[in-house]
Symmetry: C3
């Protein structure tokens, strides 16, 4: 169990390590936001590499310190690439982050997300409706069979996904992050709520994808809970700072990448959050 004090130390240490080492977090991710994911990973201090093909996913799973898998804009070859990559990550005990974006749309996505149950993602990040739907797909408590998914927008409330998040985290042994106006992060034992961010996150595409990609960067240097919290804290801080300087979503995206890059380890660790133990 983390205390606020031990958590702060861990957060600062992990961010420092990332900024120093520039760890590689490879991604298989959707083409809509792939550029923002890479730029956010670089801004946070990581290195990025994206692939589509089975043997390349397998290679990255071994060569990278962590991997990010996002199931948006699936290609036919992903039927091979994603299970092989996730299996390799699981067998090599490498941390990986799953973003179950658009869960419920299409048969391949459903099949892949069912397969991932065996390979236990280190961090699962999604909107409330996606987290609830994934728990449902995996037949865990708190889930429902059908998400009220509408595109990739959040239509459920973050708190409504708390039970699903806790049970997903207990099942995977990792952490789950629910993105929303406030972010909820849990490892099944502690629940953390991270504050800040910006209403512009809903007005640009890829804030959630980029967040998950940055969690993968932090997962190279910290436990799943700390890595997920670091991602949320960094985004909430940079989002809040960027909003104050922006006229609209265009300048917000530009300023956001600047602020993500400029955020110091202490800044990120001191971004407001609340923590409670559960059960």
């Amino acid at each position: 169990m983390y205390t606020k004090q031990s958590l702060r130390q861990e957060m600062i240490r992990a961010v420092q390590q990332v900024k120093q080492i520039n760890p590689l977090a490879g991604s298989i991710t959707n083409s809509v936001t792939i550029n923002l994911v890479a730029n956010a990973q670089l801004a946070a201090g990581g290195s990025a590499a994206m692939v589509y093909l089975p043997d390349e996913g397998e290679f990255l799973a071994g060569a990278g310190q962590a991997t990010y898998i996002n199931v948006g804009t699936l290609l036919p070859v992903y039927a091979e690439t994603l299970p092989l990559t996730a299996k390799t990550l699981h067998e090599n005990k490498k941390p990986w982050v799953l973003d179950p974006v658009a869960i419920g749309i299409g048969s391949l996505r459903t099949e892949l997300l069912l397969t991932f149950k065996h390979y236990k993602p280190t961090i699962i990040r999604g909107n409330a409706s996606e987290i609830i739907a994934l728990a449902g797909l995996w037949a865990l408590s708190g889930g429902t069979e059908v998400s009220r998914v509408r595109g990739v927008d959040s239509t459920d409330e973050v708190l409504a996904a708390q039970e699903a998040a806790i049970h997903l985290a207990r099942f995977s042994g990792g952490a789950v992050a629910v993105s929303g106006e406030t972010d909820l992060i849990t490892d099944g034992k502690q629940v953390i709520t991270s504050f800040g961010g910006s209403h512009f996150f809903e007005k640009i595409t890829g804030a959630g994808c980029a967040l998950a990609g940055v969690m993968a960067v932090y997962a190279t240097a910290a436990t799943p809970l700390v890595a997920a919290l670091l991602g949320s804290a960094a985004f909430n801080l940079a989002g809040k700072r960027a909003e104050a300087k922006s006229n609209g979503p265009g300048s917000f995206q530009t300023n956001f990448l600047d602020e993500l890059y400029l955020a110091s380890p202490e800044d990120i660790a001191d971004n407001p959050y609340e923590m409670e133990e559960i059960e």
Copy 2:
């Protein structure tokens, strides 16, 4: 037939509705500009979702309030995805926007564009050369067999495409928008010319794609003619305002998204245009 007064009312109402409801306009679009399309759709007030696979296209065609199909950067799977999606849209009487970008390059693109003739796009948007070439491919008056297509740049003049645009609109029962220094929009009965914009639209990639994506957003709330005019008016207004604040194409793209987001329903409705009846 719209009068300037009835048109203004409709435009304001439709933009208000979009900003309030955030309708989903799914896309199957090229990977070069996919991010800008999504960000422009969000800035205009819509929601975005992009897919590649056949059953996902079919799903989006049903779940979305409108759909945008752009035939740039075709993938092999599009041979299945695009006809199925267009067929579903047609059968469900859902509005959809076609962007025949790069018409004339490659056999699959030609085959797909021939197929789309059966599924009558609600709005067709292209540069002059693309509109002329599509009318030619569909054996309609005003078209020529071969476009002077060069990449995706406009090489014909907008006015030269007026006849092709009118006949395409009469055939489809929808609207056609020809993009250029001034934009021409027609439903086969009225021809509207929309003014404004920026020379920087030629110096960034994807202004036309994003415009068509935003027309799909407006098509969820308005007739084809009004939706196409709204797209052009919003882009011409935001482009003009953005240019005044920009040093080059980088800052222009940033400022353009800001201005698209900030444009009020009245601003958009009052952007200068001329209208004439035909026949």
Copy 3:
């Protein structure tokens, strides 16, 4: 052999020609940075078009004045598209630029890069480790079998790649550009070192890809050596100017595109470089 004087004249003439004619440099390139490649090509004065399919690559190879092939994010269809496109370029004596990004990852990439040896790229651009690895793959002097590739970051020093670059250039009869803190460009007879740039090039994704895409634009109007030098000079100039105005990588990318667009032919020709003859 160029003198500094003849080189300056050639550089100015070529940039003027590009800005006047807007030559088409088609690309088959990775989806992470495809948007930045196109925007950089437009900012430099060229036209852009990107494709995936075999007959479209073949078409572009014939229709474009130059072509850029980047082997990042390979798709299955590239097994057909890339050899056919490179073959067409070679047979039509059209200039083309190869970016061997991520060399060493996956069997298809290795196979494609081996095939390209037959079609002698006009310009090869990469980081030091990629250039060394390509020379190794092609069994040329200065290469090693395995690159210390880590994602797409540069891990070797530019100078360490000089021998590999020279031998690649002598083999291809074109030019080779090694990107790094200073850029090294050679045609096997002269070695040029170009100065400037920005530390932010490492903090955004796609600076190298965009550079190679812009070299393809310049290759429509200049010899391989001059085209490669122009690309480096334009990027080093615009990068340096952009850095002075930027707070972080977000604003840097925006400012960089502005400065690339604003750079005059004389500005680019006068960006600092050193030149020496070899052998």
